[in-house]
Amino acid sequence: MSSQIIPGPGGTGPGAASPHAPSAANSIRMVRLLGTVSLMCGLLIVVTNLATKDRIQSNQETITRESVAELLPGISKQVTYGVEPSGELKVLTGATGEGKKFFAGYDGSGKLVGVVIEAGERGYADVISALYSYSPATQTIIGFKVVDMRETPGLGDRIKSDIPFLANFKNLDAKVENGKEVHNITTVKHGTKKNAWEIDAISGATISSRAVGRMLHKSVEDVTPVILKNLDRIERGN
């Protein structure tokens, strides 16, 4: 069929055709071909999307669930809450999706262990996104985990793994009154941490360490008032 459409010596190359300007018939043929190719490609993409959609979503949920479980050891049940723009809480079925949200974790007897909150802040190279666990009972941050970042390998990326740095988040004061922190969470120079609301920076990674401090300060003032206001409901888990 091919030699009929494209005149050419043995079909060695596409369109060995004519050196002349394309005729109207030629143009229509090109448009038709491109259209067909695009349509086929589009169909293939749609099919793949449908086939992988569930798998992708469950992958993302698994990752979030595992991170939450890691930050709140000993929990056996998780509930995801979304915060509406009006400040109302809503239980979400999936762990993913847009908007402000947090995850409440409960132990075997159904008691609230803590809450894991998503946060993000611009670091040295790109946005650092992280999860941190918060205990509403004591109003402290009890864990921190970097989810995604592009900080300098060997320097800034130590915020993910540096054990002394992560020890800052075992019991970090995050007390909030009237929507403002009593003591702002701040990052201080390495070796000068004195108070429970200060983060001891990593020596040589000051910019990334400060970004973590800003991130937590903003997020605590933003999210924890909603949690404290609805604490009864969150403790019941509905």
């Binding site: 060997g154 320097l155 120079k189 040589g204 000051t206 910019i207």
Partner: protein
Amino acid sequence: MTATTVLAVRTSPHAHSTRSVEKIMANVVFALLPICGYAIWLFGISTLALLLATTAAALGTEQMFCRASGKGSTIGDFSAVITGLLLGLTLPPGLPLWMGALGAFIAVGPGKMVFGGLGFNVFNPALVGRAFLQAAFPVAITTYTSAKAVGRFTEFVPSTLAWPFMKAAPITEWVARTKVDGFTGATPLMLQKFDHVTTEPWSMFLGERAGSAGETAPWLILLCGLYLIIRGMMSWRVPAAMLLSSVVLAQAFHMADAARYPGPLFVLFSGGLMLGAMFMATDPVGQPVTPRGMWIYGILMGTLTVAIRFLGGLAEGVMYAILLGNALSPLIDNLTQPKTYGERRKAVA
């Protein structure tokens, strides 16, 4: 038999002196020796070992590349010795010896020999080596020990003797144990940038402070540089332009916001500005050849140094300023070519 006269056609200068490359290079080595001696007095045997390691590695690398390329050995021209010494002088005194040797290998190998040896390199080899070390080991290269530590002539800094390719031992405990009152392990630039503590310029001029091994004593570096300038072996224009422009720019910043930016004398005597301006920016291979070009080149590097120190994230900017200056010097040469005799300018001056 017809007498053939061989006419050597070449550009000026036609008058020759007996100075050869080797002789100039040997004089540069002489001029560096007092600085090395002072560094060893200030920081002890660790610095001696570091200088020996960088120089030996530089010589070894040069010999290796000469042999591999099948050309005659060029280690007799002293340029590898200069590279090794200069590299050692720009490193923290307690840097592991293997890192120093690796830096010297990078400096002489990829920094000089792969371009075809002395005279063909684009960048100052010692700074190529240091730039590699700074990018590869950012923590080790910013770990400084304090000057005049007790027992510096009898024991090594713990980090010096790290096994090749292995991490250096922590030195905080050693620094705390051996330091003399009034001395600190942080360099004046780091203190100023990260803790907002300004060191008094006069005490920095005398040189008893923490820093890279050979950068601490501006008075000595000035004297050694003057020796080369007076003997006519080094251009005075480049260091003059670089130092003057950094002083002027620092003064301008200081007048705008004295609390944030330190004064011109601080800028002049801190960090490696003096060593860089005298011994690295003046590398005859990396600098422009026209007098006007030298001024532009010096001013460019002085400006960049202050800009990086004041506006950038790094405490020290001399190294990058000089490397950038090296990169631009062929362009500067091109733009400052003197006009040929008889050529007319387009516009009347």
